[in-house]
Protein backbone atom coordinates (compact mmCIF):
# COMPACT_ATOMS: atom_id res chain seq x y z
CA UNK A 1 0.00 0.00 0.00
CA UNK A 2 1.25 3.49 -0.85
CA UNK A 3 2.18 6.02 1.83
CA UNK A 4 -0.77 8.16 0.79
CA UNK A 5 -3.28 5.41 1.42
CA UNK A 6 -1.72 4.46 4.75
CA UNK A 7 -2.12 8.09 5.86
CA UNK A 8 -5.70 8.30 4.54
CA UNK A 9 -6.79 5.13 6.31
CA UNK A 10 -4.90 5.76 9.57
CA UNK A 11 -6.13 9.35 9.90
CA UNK A 12 -9.66 8.26 8.97
CA UNK A 13 -9.69 5.46 11.54
CA UNK A 14 -8.25 7.68 14.28
CA UNK A 15 -10.80 10.43 13.62
CA UNK A 16 -13.74 8.03 13.47
CA UNK A 17 -12.67 6.65 16.85
CA UNK A 18 -12.16 10.10 18.42
CA UNK A 19 -15.60 11.29 17.32
CA UNK A 20 -17.32 8.06 18.34
CA UNK A 21 -15.77 7.57 21.77
CA UNK A 22 -18.44 9.47 23.72
CA UNK A 23 -21.61 8.45 21.86
CA UNK A 24 -20.61 4.78 21.45
CA UNK A 25 -19.19 4.08 24.92
CA UNK A 26 -21.48 6.32 26.98
CA UNK A 27 -24.34 7.00 24.58
CA UNK A 28 -27.59 7.93 26.28
CA UNK A 29 -26.13 7.81 29.79
CA UNK A 30 -25.71 10.93 31.87
CA UNK A 31 -22.13 11.91 32.62
CA UNK A 32 -20.94 11.46 36.21
CA UNK A 33 -21.83 14.48 38.36
CA UNK A 34 -18.39 16.10 38.68
CA UNK A 35 -17.96 15.84 34.91
CA UNK A 36 -21.22 17.67 34.16
CA UNK A 37 -19.84 20.96 35.42
CA UNK A 38 -16.61 20.43 33.51
CA UNK A 39 -18.34 19.59 30.24
CA UNK A 40 -20.64 22.59 30.65
CA UNK A 41 -17.63 24.86 30.36
CA UNK A 42 -16.16 23.03 27.38
CA UNK A 43 -18.12 25.12 24.86
CA UNK A 44 -16.93 28.55 26.01
CA UNK A 45 -13.34 27.32 26.50
CA UNK A 46 -13.09 25.55 23.13
CA UNK A 47 -14.99 28.18 21.15
CA UNK A 48 -12.67 30.91 22.47
CA UNK A 49 -9.68 28.73 21.52
CA UNK A 50 -11.12 28.14 18.04
CA UNK A 51 -11.61 31.88 17.55
CA UNK A 52 -7.97 32.47 18.54
CA UNK A 53 -6.45 29.68 16.43
CA UNK A 54 -8.60 30.41 13.39
CA UNK A 55 -7.86 34.11 13.43
CA UNK A 56 -4.21 34.19 14.54
CA UNK A 57 -2.89 30.77 13.59
CA UNK A 58 -0.55 30.31 10.65
CA UNK A 59 1.94 27.69 9.75
CA UNK A 60 3.52 25.95 12.70
CA UNK A 61 4.73 27.93 15.68
CA UNK A 62 3.46 31.34 14.70
CA UNK A 63 0.97 33.96 15.78
CA UNK A 64 0.03 36.41 13.06
CA UNK A 65 -2.18 39.49 12.94
CA UNK A 66 -3.43 39.76 9.37
CA UNK A 67 -6.57 40.69 7.46
CA UNK A 68 -8.54 38.00 9.30
CA UNK A 69 -8.27 40.10 12.46
CA UNK A 70 -9.96 43.03 10.70
CA UNK A 71 -12.71 40.67 9.58
CA UNK A 72 -13.18 39.42 13.14
CA UNK A 73 -13.30 42.99 14.47
CA UNK A 74 -15.98 43.83 11.90
CA UNK A 75 -17.88 40.69 12.94
CA UNK A 76 -17.69 41.81 16.58
CA UNK A 77 -19.21 45.18 15.65
CA UNK A 78 -21.96 43.42 13.70
CA UNK A 79 -22.65 41.24 16.74
CA UNK A 80 -22.87 44.31 18.99
CA UNK A 81 -25.46 45.70 16.56
CA UNK A 82 -27.35 42.40 16.91
CA UNK A 83 -26.95 41.48 13.25
CA UNK A 84 -28.14 38.00 12.23
CA UNK A 85 -25.50 35.25 11.90
CA UNK A 86 -25.45 35.29 8.10
CA UNK A 87 -24.75 39.02 8.07
CA UNK A 88 -22.03 38.65 10.73
CA UNK A 89 -20.24 36.07 8.58
CA UNK A 90 -20.66 38.04 5.34
CA UNK A 91 -19.30 41.17 7.05
CA UNK A 92 -16.25 39.25 8.31
CA UNK A 93 -15.50 37.73 4.90
CA UNK A 94 -16.14 40.97 2.96
CA UNK A 95 -13.96 43.02 5.31
CA UNK A 96 -11.11 40.51 5.07
CA UNK A 97 -11.44 40.27 1.28
CA UNK A 98 -11.49 44.08 0.93
CA UNK A 99 -8.43 44.46 3.17
CA UNK A 100 -6.56 41.87 1.10
CA UNK A 101 -7.57 43.51 -2.17
CA UNK A 102 -6.39 46.90 -0.91
CA UNK A 103 -3.29 45.55 0.81
Amino acid sequence: MSAVWIVVLAVGAATVALKAVGPVLLGGRELPQPLTGVVGLLAPALLAALVVTQVAGADEYEVVADERLLGLAAAAVALLLRAPLLLVIVVAAATTAAARALG
Binding site: V4, A10, R29, G40, P44, V63, A75, A92
Partner: protein
Protein backbone atom coordinates in the same frame (compact mmCIF):
# COMPACT_ATOMS: atom_id res chain seq x y z
CA UNK B 1 -45.91 25.07 9.85
CA UNK B 2 -45.31 21.76 8.20
CA UNK B 3 -43.56 18.67 9.45
CA UNK B 4 -43.38 17.19 12.92
CA UNK B 5 -41.34 18.75 15.68
CA UNK B 6 -38.67 16.13 15.10
CA UNK B 7 -38.23 16.99 11.44
CA UNK B 8 -38.21 20.64 12.33
CA UNK B 9 -35.24 20.22 14.64
CA UNK B 10 -33.20 18.46 11.94
CA UNK B 11 -34.17 21.30 9.63
CA UNK B 12 -33.34 23.85 12.34
CA UNK B 13 -29.83 22.43 12.34
CA UNK B 14 -29.57 22.63 8.57
CA UNK B 15 -30.80 26.20 8.65
CA UNK B 16 -28.52 27.20 11.52
CA UNK B 17 -25.44 26.04 9.64
CA UNK B 18 -26.42 27.46 6.24
CA UNK B 19 -24.46 30.72 6.69
CA UNK B 20 -21.19 28.78 6.91
CA UNK B 21 -21.99 26.13 4.30
CA UNK B 22 -20.63 28.19 1.37
CA UNK B 23 -17.29 28.55 3.16
CA UNK B 24 -17.20 24.80 3.89
CA UNK B 25 -17.91 24.07 0.23
CA UNK B 26 -15.17 26.44 -0.96
CA UNK B 27 -12.61 24.93 1.40
CA UNK B 28 -13.71 21.44 0.36
CA UNK B 29 -12.85 22.37 -3.23
CA UNK B 30 -9.53 23.79 -2.05
CA UNK B 31 -8.73 20.60 -0.17
CA UNK B 32 -9.43 18.55 -3.32
CA UNK B 33 -7.06 20.72 -5.31
CA UNK B 34 -4.30 20.75 -2.70
CA UNK B 35 -4.57 17.01 -2.17
CA UNK B 36 -4.00 16.39 -5.88
CA UNK B 37 -1.05 18.77 -5.85
CA UNK B 38 0.32 16.89 -2.84
CA UNK B 39 0.31 13.69 -4.87
CA UNK B 40 -2.92 12.16 -3.58
CA UNK B 41 -5.10 10.51 -6.19
CA UNK B 42 -8.70 11.75 -6.40
CA UNK B 43 -10.10 8.64 -4.71
CA UNK B 44 -7.70 9.04 -1.78
CA UNK B 45 -8.68 12.69 -1.34
CA UNK B 46 -12.36 11.79 -1.45
CA UNK B 47 -11.91 8.87 0.96
CA UNK B 48 -10.15 11.18 3.39
CA UNK B 49 -12.94 13.77 3.28
CA UNK B 50 -15.59 11.08 3.68
CA UNK B 51 -13.94 9.36 6.66
CA UNK B 52 -11.99 12.10 8.43
CA UNK B 53 -14.40 15.00 7.74
CA UNK B 54 -12.26 17.56 9.58
CA UNK B 55 -10.69 20.36 7.59
CA UNK B 56 -7.61 21.36 9.52
CA UNK B 57 -6.37 17.79 10.02
CA UNK B 58 -6.84 16.99 6.33
CA UNK B 59 -4.97 20.10 5.18
CA UNK B 60 -2.15 19.28 7.58
CA UNK B 61 -1.85 15.66 6.46
CA UNK B 62 -1.94 16.56 2.75
CA UNK B 63 0.61 19.34 3.09
CA UNK B 64 3.01 17.12 5.03
CA UNK B 65 2.68 14.41 2.37
CA UNK B 66 3.17 17.01 -0.37
CA UNK B 67 6.30 18.32 1.31
CA UNK B 68 7.75 14.83 1.40
CA UNK B 69 7.22 14.35 5.13
CA UNK B 70 6.80 10.82 6.39
CA UNK B 71 3.68 8.81 7.09
CA UNK B 72 4.24 9.04 10.83
CA UNK B 73 4.52 12.84 10.77
CA UNK B 74 1.35 13.22 8.68
CA UNK B 75 -0.68 10.86 10.88
CA UNK B 76 0.61 12.36 14.13
CA UNK B 77 -0.17 15.92 13.04
CA UNK B 78 -3.68 15.01 11.94
CA UNK B 79 -4.34 13.00 15.12
CA UNK B 80 -3.21 15.92 17.29
CA UNK B 81 -5.43 18.30 15.36
CA UNK B 82 -8.40 16.03 15.90
CA UNK B 83 -7.67 15.16 19.53
CA UNK B 84 -10.19 17.84 20.57
CA UNK B 85 -12.93 15.54 19.30
CA UNK B 86 -12.47 13.27 22.32
CA UNK B 87 -13.74 15.87 24.84
CA UNK B 88 -16.26 17.18 22.29
CA UNK B 89 -17.72 13.72 21.76
CA UNK B 90 -17.92 13.16 25.54
CA UNK B 91 -19.85 16.42 25.93
CA UNK B 92 -22.63 15.28 23.57
CA UNK B 93 -22.65 11.60 24.61
CA UNK B 94 -25.79 11.79 26.80
CA UNK B 95 -27.85 12.92 23.79
CA UNK B 96 -27.03 9.96 21.53
CA UNK B 97 -29.45 7.05 21.78
CA UNK B 98 -30.20 3.89 19.83
CA UNK B 99 -27.99 1.00 18.82
CA UNK B 100 -24.20 1.32 19.01
CA UNK B 101 -24.08 1.22 15.18
CA UNK B 102 -26.46 4.16 14.93
CA UNK B 103 -24.51 6.08 17.55
CA UNK B 104 -21.28 5.35 15.67
CA UNK B 105 -22.70 6.63 12.38
CA UNK B 106 -24.34 9.73 13.86
CA UNK B 107 -21.23 10.61 15.86
CA UNK B 108 -19.31 11.01 12.61
CA UNK B 109 -21.35 14.15 11.91
CA UNK B 110 -19.67 15.84 14.86
CA UNK B 111 -17.48 18.70 13.66
CA UNK B 112 -16.67 21.95 15.45
CA UNK B 113 -19.41 23.85 13.67
CA UNK B 114 -22.24 21.29 14.02
CA UNK B 115 -21.32 20.77 17.68
CA UNK B 116 -21.29 24.49 18.41
CA UNK B 117 -24.67 25.26 16.81
CA UNK B 118 -26.32 22.33 18.61
CA UNK B 119 -25.68 23.74 22.07
CA UNK B 120 -28.86 24.76 23.82
CA UNK B 121 -29.25 27.64 26.26
CA UNK B 122 -29.57 25.14 29.14
CA UNK B 123 -26.06 23.83 28.43
CA UNK B 124 -27.12 20.53 26.88
CA UNK B 125 -26.81 19.66 23.20
CA UNK B 126 -29.55 18.94 20.66
CA UNK B 127 -28.60 15.81 18.76
CA UNK B 128 -31.06 16.47 15.93
CA UNK B 129 -29.72 19.95 15.35
CA UNK B 130 -26.18 18.51 15.35
CA UNK B 131 -27.13 15.82 12.84
CA UNK B 132 -29.03 18.24 10.56
CA UNK B 133 -26.14 20.71 10.57
CA UNK B 134 -23.56 17.93 10.21
CA UNK B 135 -25.30 16.48 7.14
CA UNK B 136 -25.25 19.83 5.35
CA UNK B 137 -21.57 20.33 6.18
CA UNK B 138 -20.75 16.76 5.16
CA UNK B 139 -22.43 17.20 1.77
CA UNK B 140 -20.60 20.50 1.21
CA UNK B 141 -17.24 19.14 2.33
CA UNK B 142 -17.30 15.85 0.42
CA UNK B 143 -19.01 17.42 -2.62
CA UNK B 144 -16.48 20.26 -2.65
CA UNK B 145 -13.59 17.81 -2.37
CA UNK B 146 -14.82 15.81 -5.35
CA UNK B 147 -15.16 18.98 -7.45
CA UNK B 148 -11.66 20.13 -6.49
CA UNK B 149 -10.07 16.73 -6.99
CA UNK B 150 -11.74 16.29 -10.38
CA UNK B 151 -11.31 19.84 -11.70
CA UNK B 152 -7.78 20.12 -10.39
CA UNK B 153 -8.07 23.83 -9.96
CA UNK B 154 -10.03 25.96 -7.56
CA UNK B 155 -12.98 27.93 -8.85
CA UNK B 156 -11.64 30.89 -6.94
CA UNK B 157 -9.28 31.38 -4.05
CA UNK B 158 -11.36 31.16 -0.84
CA UNK B 159 -8.84 33.38 0.90
CA UNK B 160 -9.16 36.19 -1.65
CA UNK B 161 -12.89 36.05 -0.90
CA UNK B 162 -12.11 36.32 2.83
CA UNK B 163 -13.80 32.99 3.53
CA UNK B 164 -11.10 31.97 6.01
CA UNK B 165 -12.40 34.79 8.21
CA UNK B 166 -15.89 33.24 8.15
CA UNK B 167 -14.89 30.51 10.63
CA UNK B 168 -13.57 32.66 13.50
CA UNK B 169 -16.59 34.95 12.96
CA UNK B 170 -18.93 31.95 13.32
CA UNK B 171 -17.19 30.75 16.49
CA UNK B 172 -17.27 34.26 17.97
CA UNK B 173 -20.98 34.58 17.19
CA UNK B 174 -21.64 31.22 18.89
CA UNK B 175 -19.40 32.09 21.85
CA UNK B 176 -21.09 35.39 22.76
CA UNK B 177 -24.42 33.96 24.00
CA UNK B 178 -22.50 31.37 26.08
CA UNK B 179 -20.60 33.76 28.31
CA UNK B 180 -23.55 35.03 30.32
CA UNK B 181 -22.24 33.56 33.58
CA UNK B 182 -19.01 34.50 35.33
CA UNK B 183 -17.72 30.93 35.20
CA UNK B 184 -18.37 30.64 31.45
CA UNK B 185 -16.67 33.98 30.85
CA UNK B 186 -13.68 32.82 32.90
CA UNK B 187 -13.48 29.56 30.93
CA UNK B 188 -13.58 31.50 27.63
CA UNK B 189 -10.88 33.95 28.72
CA UNK B 190 -8.61 31.21 30.10
CA UNK B 191 -9.22 28.96 27.08
CA UNK B 192 -8.47 31.76 24.63
CA UNK B 193 -5.37 32.79 26.57
CA UNK B 194 -4.02 29.23 26.68
CA UNK B 195 -4.53 28.86 22.92
CA UNK B 196 -2.84 32.20 22.20
CA UNK B 197 0.09 31.43 24.49
CA UNK B 198 0.69 28.01 22.96
CA UNK B 199 0.24 28.94 19.28
CA UNK B 200 3.92 29.93 18.82
CA UNK B 201 5.22 27.16 21.11
CA UNK B 202 3.38 23.94 20.38
CA UNK B 203 2.51 21.88 17.29
CA UNK B 204 -0.83 22.67 15.65
CA UNK B 205 -3.71 21.08 17.52
CA UNK B 206 -2.06 21.20 20.94
CA UNK B 207 -3.20 24.79 21.70
CA UNK B 208 -6.85 23.82 21.23
CA UNK B 209 -6.62 20.61 23.25
CA UNK B 210 -4.77 22.42 26.06
CA UNK B 211 -7.38 25.20 26.01
CA UNK B 212 -10.12 22.66 26.63
CA UNK B 213 -8.42 22.18 30.01
CA UNK B 214 -9.95 25.53 30.99
CA UNK B 215 -13.26 23.73 31.48
CA UNK B 216 -11.74 22.13 34.60
CA UNK B 217 -12.75 25.44 36.22
CA UNK B 218 -16.15 23.78 36.45
CA UNK B 219 -14.92 20.72 38.38
CA UNK B 220 -16.24 21.01 41.94
CA UNK B 221 -19.27 23.12 41.18
CA UNK B 222 -21.46 20.40 39.71
Amino acid sequence: MTGSRTELRYRDGARAIAPIAVAALAFGVTFGVLAREAGMEALAALTMSATTFAGSAQFAAASILGAGGGVAAAVAAAALLNARYAPISLSVAPEFHGSPARRLVESQLIVDESWAVSRRPDGRYDRRVLVGAGLVLYACWVGGTSVGAAAGEALGDPESLGLDAAFPALFLALLVPQVRSRRALAAAVVGGAIALALLPLAPAGVPIVAASGACLLGWSRA
